[in-house]
């Protein structure tokens, strides 16, 4: 497949470049732009980013492979990043991961045959007080998971319904 940026993309890339005194700092934001457009940043996409920015391909490859949120290979339509790090581990993160693996019939790191879901075990997502939790395709956080909540999320995603932003109310201090 040939990957290309259209006129709108190039305008956005110019806007990104204007935020920095040099071109190189645009690497991360333009990789984001490319991933949002193509769904991943496979080597061909990395090449396009490098050419567009006039940077060495090796540099863009080095950056893309350093950061975990860039998908270096094609993923499912929905990527479930399940946090199993400290606070989530303590609150049942692995139970949630295992439940998702059982439900989808795949292991962490794999994609379902229909290309609908990928599951990943990830490091701390900074939602420790709302553990266990997961993130859907680098976007919405789904907090305070239970098996029922996970089941509903997967059913919703299958039905084309993506999760809403979950506002977590400020906990009120108990003042005796």
């Amino acid at each position: 497949m040939t990957y290309e940026f259209d006129k709108d993309d190039l305008k956005k890339i110019d806007d990104i470049k204007a935020k920095y005194p040099e071109v190189m700092p645009a690497t991360l934001p333009v990789l984001w732009l490319a991933q949002n457009k193509f769904g991943h940043v496979e080597p061909e996409v990395q090449r396009l980013v490098a050419e567009t920015l006039g940077l060495p391909e090796a540099h863009v490859h080095g950056v893309a492979t350093f950061y975990t949120q860039y998908y270096k290979e094609k993923k499912g339509k929905h990527v479930l990043d399940v946090c199993t790090c400290l606070s989530c581990q303590l609150c049942g993160g692995y139970d949630m991961l295992n439940h998702i693996e059982d439900k989808l019939g795949i292991k962490a790191g794999e994609t379902t045959e229909d290309g609908m879901f990928s599951v990943q075990e990830v490091e701390c997502l900074g939602a420790c007080g709302y553990a266990p939790m997961l993130q859907v395709t680098n976007d919405k956080y789904v907090n305070n998971l239970t098996k029922e909540k996970v089941d509903k999320l997967i059913d919703d995603l299958k039905a084309g319904k993506t999760p809403e932003y979950e506002e977590i109310k400020m906990p009120l201090r108990k003042v005796d």
């Binding site: 005194p21 303590l90 108990k174």
Partner: protein, 431 residues
């Protein structure tokens, strides 16, 4: 306000005000008056150095973990030479247990923006970048909206409030790497590279972003500047613990009834924070251990907590640190071997790989802990683990190796019985 009065403390960073994230609401609640005062009240603030002195006197100790006096840090910037100077705001927040800065992005982004603008003015800085971890997509969008609104109202941009001072403010997204919370790694990432920490010196104040003077501050640290300007250094310095004053955003997670982020004075007794603020232990279980300030801070046993307060002096006495004040609470059922293995897994995954003691050391720690966790460990492995930690500490460019070593050493030392029991189990299994 003494620490004992914490129940009467009124939050200033994340008060319970509806829609405070909207610029109009923020202004109706006194927002941007501190910036206005600093830029236009020449009787009160003769110049940028007055602002630095006020912040220095308040003794805002950096809330990103290191706890260095923010005003003092600002004073390290060399004199302006007409070239660009930068403020890099650290919103990378990736240490397990730490989830406080997102509350500012979410509920009160303008207090951070206003604080950053005051900091930039004080240091005669021309551009501000806020680096937010890529996973916080919603908060990145919220920050961008808040920055756009502040531009529109003339609080950011050219000739702010007719003062002649101009500054730009950019939001930059990370892409998933804990190491980018390390200050020089964050600069590398902002410059569009792999987040490899830099050797210091030169320090960022001399040679930071694009080789120019740069100050790096945590989001919460910068947010505290606003109440300091509004209410004075004495107000701030008089809150909570003497040597580590001011309000703190405590993030409490783990086995408590009401986990979350709470703004309260520094120096709160650890046990009151758990029992009164966070609602006590879940399911009536007993408290077993506490990690006070993010996964790198040494763990404390429940029997070490009497009289311990959340400030650097008190925590140092029991052999740990305040860090980010992201407290992880564990109940009696917590398996320390499993828990420590997961921490080691995190640091191994997040080591950038630049320095050998860290790249290899974190992997080695994880591997041995996995062996013990699986029941294949031997008693001598515990001493090997401790030996590895001493070989990692202080031998790398940044502190990630230390951050990986401390929990291993302290968890083994403070819960040695549990580790030995797991190792002995394997001996019996073999026999």
């Amino acid at each position: 306000m003494s620490t004992a009065d914490w129940k009467n403390y009124e939050p200033v960073l994340i008060p319970n005000t509806k829609d405070l994230h909207k610029i109009d609401v923020y202004q109706q609640n006194g927002g941007y008056s501190a910036l206005k005062s600093v830029l236009t009240d020449k009787k009160k603030w003769e110049g940028p150095s007055d602002v630095i002195n006020e912040v220095k006197a308040a003794n805002i100790r950096g809330r990103g973990g290191a706890g260095f006096n923010a005003g003092l840090k600002w004073s390290f910037m060399p004199p302006a030479d007409g070239g660009p100077r930068y403020l890099a705001c650290n919103g990378d927040e990736s240490e397990p247990g730490t989830f406080k800065d997102r509350k500012i992005f979410e509920y009160n982004p303008h207090v951070f923006i206003e604080g950053a603008l005051i900091a930039a003015y004080a240091m005669e800085i021309t551009s501000i970048y806020v680096y937010i971890r890529g996973e916080y997509k919603d908060y990145i969008d919220m920050m961008q909206k808040a920055v756009d609104d502040a531009y529109e109202k003339g609080f950011i941009g050219e000739d702010i409030l007719g003062s002649g001072y101009s500054v730009d403010f950019y939001v930059h997204s990370g892409a998933g790497a804990y190491i980018c919370g390390e200050e020089t790694s964050m600069l590398e990432s902002l410059e569009g590279k792999r987040g490899y920490p830099r050797v210091k010196p030169p320090f960022p104040a001399q040679k930071g972003l694009w080789g120019r003077p740069t100050t790096i501050n945590n989001i919460e640290t910068l947010s505290h500047v606003v109440p300091v300007i509004n209410k004075g250094a004495d107000w701030f310095a008089g809150i909570g613990a003497k040597n580590h004053p001011g309000p703190i955003l405590y993030g409490i997670s783990g086995h408590v009834n009401r986990p979350g982020v709470y703004e309260l004075p520094s120096g709160i007794p650890v046990l009151e924070l758990i029992n009164d603020v966070a609602g006590g232990m879940r399911n009536g279980k007993q408290l077993k251990a506490v990690i006070p300030g993010g996964s790198s801070t040494p763990i404390l046993r429940a029997d070490q907590l009497d009289g311990v307060t959340m400030d650097s002096d008190s925590l140092r006495e029991v052999g740990t640190m305040l860090g980010t004040a992201g407290m992880v609470v564990m109940d009696e059922d917590t398996d320390m071997v499993d828990m420590l293995w997961r921490i080691a897994h995190f640091y191994h995954h997040e080591s950038c790989g630049q320095c050998t003691p860290c790249r290899d050391g974190t992997g080695w720690l994880e591997k041995i802990l996995l062996k013990i966790k699986n029941g294949d460990g031997e008693i001598k492995d515990l001493d090997l683990l401790l030996d590895i930690t001493t070989q990692m500490e202080g031998r790398t460019i940044c502190a990630l190796a230390d951050a990986a070593a401390w929990p291993v050493r302290h968890t083994i030392n403070r819960f040695r019985d549990e580790f030995e029991a797991r190792c002995k189990k394997s001996v019996h299994a073999i026999a």
